[in-house]
């Protein structure tokens, strides 16, 4: 099981802030494909990966990164701090 967390408009489109997911995905990109196949709201949230960022265990990462050993995956739009 992996903890998947959503922020900002990703959270709003998917309709929940976090969920536990059982997955056999070996990369972030595979996990995204699994999610998109679930329901339209996921497909909409992940329609444009260029406008999304991903963090693995609270470190910025990339969509081709492996998921082995990862406990927490977060998806969100580009950050707007400051």
């Amino acid at each position: 099981m992996i903890e998947v967390i959503y922020f900002a408009w990703v959270r709003e489109r998917i309709g929940l802030p976090r969920e536990q997911i059982a997955t056999t995905a070996t990369t972030v990109a595979e996990l995204v494909e699994e999610l998109k196949a679930r329901e339209d709201r996921y497909a909409m949230a992940f329609a444009d990966l260029a406008s999304l960022r991903v963090a693995l265990d609270q470190e910025l990462s990339s969509f081709d990164a492996p998921l082995a050993g990862v406990r927490e995956v977060a998806f969100f739009p580009p950050m707007t701090g400051g």
Partner: protein
Amino acid sequence: MRLSVQSDVFDLGAEANAFAAAQTGAGAVVTFTGIVRDNGGTLSAMEIEHYPGMTEKAIAAIMDQAMARWSLADALVIHRHGRLAANDPIMMVATAARHRADAFAAAEFLMDYLKSRAPFWKKEIRADGAEWVAARDEDEAALSRW
């Protein structure tokens, strides 16, 4: 070095004074304060979402980089989250150094990284609806100078 991620409002003047008073030997203190722009009165609030846990780690890493790269005596980052009113302070950065060039460069570096690499997302709440603030290309481009 101090880092605070908080929902409470902070007092720019009190923070700046406390930061400056703690310095001995550092002749240059730079502060940056970000304030909620009211956009001509159309903004009713700003909501800031963040990623608890990652936020603190990401900012601490940015501060460590700044301390390693410039000759700094001290650094401070305060960043709020939650619901902010127009004209509220959003965040502040302070740097202290012997020479002003270090204090300025480090403050700009911290700001550039906080803008695009710390997990905060701003949403503008207006009378006619709410909208997530889009990241600016200039903010991403600003990182390339460091």
